[in-house]
Amino acid sequence: MKADPKGVLTGSHYLDGDHACCEGALAAGCRFVAGYPITPSTEVVERFSARIPRVGGIFIQMEDELSSSIAILGASWAGVKSMTVTSGPGFSLMMEHIGLAVMLETPCVYVDVQRGGPSTGLPTLPSQADMMQARWGSHGDYEVIAISPSSPQECFDMTIDAFNLSEQYRTPVFLMMDECVGHMTEKVVIPPADKIEVTPRRYTKLPPGKYLPYKPDRDLVPPIVKAGDGYRFHVTGLTHNEKGYPVMSADCQETLVHRLVDKIRVNAKKIIRYEEEKINGADVIVVSYGITARVAQQAIELARKDGVKVGSLRLVVVWPFPEKRIRELAGKTKAFVVPEMNYGQIVFEVERCAAGRAATFLVPHGGGTTHNPEDIYKKIMEAAG
């Protein structure tokens, strides 16, 4: 399906990542945003609140992140594409509703413009320290989809991707930005509406009475309905059967949670996205994501000048993690170097998949600014031996 031109600001713009994310949401057809101000994400909702009365839709500034993170679920069940936007402390408050979104299989987008933590941390400065929280932050077992943009243009493009994936898999999708991409201004090209693909909601074709809210299609995703269409359906955060009714049993838990997890795992091949460069024959592969991938590129070029064979694997979709690819590469390269703006998160995934067949080096950074490319360069040289 093509984008609704009403929300598409076609043209070349000079925008920061936050503003670009808002435009991406509008282009994707998002017509409901609930949010609570928090640096460095606030510009997204500021722009949305200014744009939406002229596009047609709703913005509401809720009383906190708890309410924002569930108001968007209510809106989604009314059939409207919805999003909330936050940063560290707010993201922590949203965790319970990420679980609810997973459990109710509600399409929606959560944007986290990462800043330094823990706690209030560095409100105006970047980090990438919420990557594991995005994966594991809510209680219980589940899988999510998380995307990591590295420029304002990608903030635009990938917000659309996030909405599309959330519709395709009936799941919350995270756009894991950071303060650096959020506040950096670059050229953003917004294509005409008829060049933007948007995934429509997967509404059931069955009539009321025949429809079961959690009976999955072949790809393990159940078709959806919306409130007001006569289905008189029930959804609950309790463990439930295909009818959506609570069933407190180990069997039902197994069926449901297994499917929720498999829904992403089985389709992972279609969801995973990464960009490789000069991987073949590389002695060292730098695995990076988000803004750090750009900074790492500079380090990679320095090392290449010194004659080191360095490849780059940039994770575009971070969750689900490209396990298979890392396993393959572990047999071919000497070492992985993983720079990230935290003290070690995605590096553990790389290490797990490398399983001792390639050395894994972390280039940690506490956040507050990006890495100095020099530090990544040094680690590449060390890894190259």
Partner: protein, 188 residues
């Protein structure tokens, strides 16, 4: 030069960010080059100080921040004191001369000053001081094409103020050209 780093410093209300935005936009949208603009949101953005940075490049900008500016534009004493030591020793220093008392220059730094506030006042709006500085920047550094900057000004400033801003731009631009001539004479 494939990567040029520019830093602009002043205090809040002078239009520091807007100036950076216009430079970045001129390069990115009207010249077909790449540029990345960042602003200080950190604690240094408090207390009235304000700064913005632009990286202009013919290739994709990777590292987004400015570390050793090739051009420094200062519109406050504080910005001068704070950022001058960071300036590349082959760099260009542009000074608002009524607001900044500068010391001797280091290395091969070329310094140029302009009474931008006075010029802006003569044009009737002190607020266009930043655009006078922008004109000055454009002619002295030649980093960004003047027509691209003019387009970016039209595209950025509030409706109805385009003519005033363009006048301010030309004022600074002309003054810069003269300064370059003076420099040439001096160097023989």
């Amino acid at each position: 030069m494939s990567r040029t780093e520019i830093k602009i410093g002043g205090f809040g209300g002078q239009g520091v960010i807007l100036t950076a935005l216009i430079i970045g936009k001129a390069a990115s949208l009207f010249e077909g080059r790449e540029s990345t603009m960042t602003q200080s949101f950190g604690p240094e953005a408090r207390g009235g100080a304000c700064s913005a940075q632009i990286v202009v490049s013919d290739m994709k900008v990777r590292y987004p921040y400015v570390t050793v500016p090739n051009v420094l534009v200062v519109m406050s004493q504080e910005a001068y004191t704070r950022f001058e030591p960071q300036l590349d020793e082959n760099g260009i220093l542009l000074i608002e001369e009524d607001l900044v008392k500068s010391g001797p220059t280091r290395g091969k730094i070329r310094a140029f000053s302009i009474p931008a506030t006075r010029f802006a006042e003569e044009l009737g709006r002190k607020i266009v001081l930043n655009i006078v500085m922008l004109g000055f920047f454009t002619s002295v550094t030649k980093l960004v094409d003047a027509d691209a900057v003019r387009k970016a000004i039209r595209d950025t400033v509030p409706k109805g103020t385009e003519e005033l801003n363009l006048k301010a731009f030309e004022k600074g631009y002309e003054y810069g050209l003269n300064k370059l001539k003076e420099e040439k004479k001096k160097l023989g």
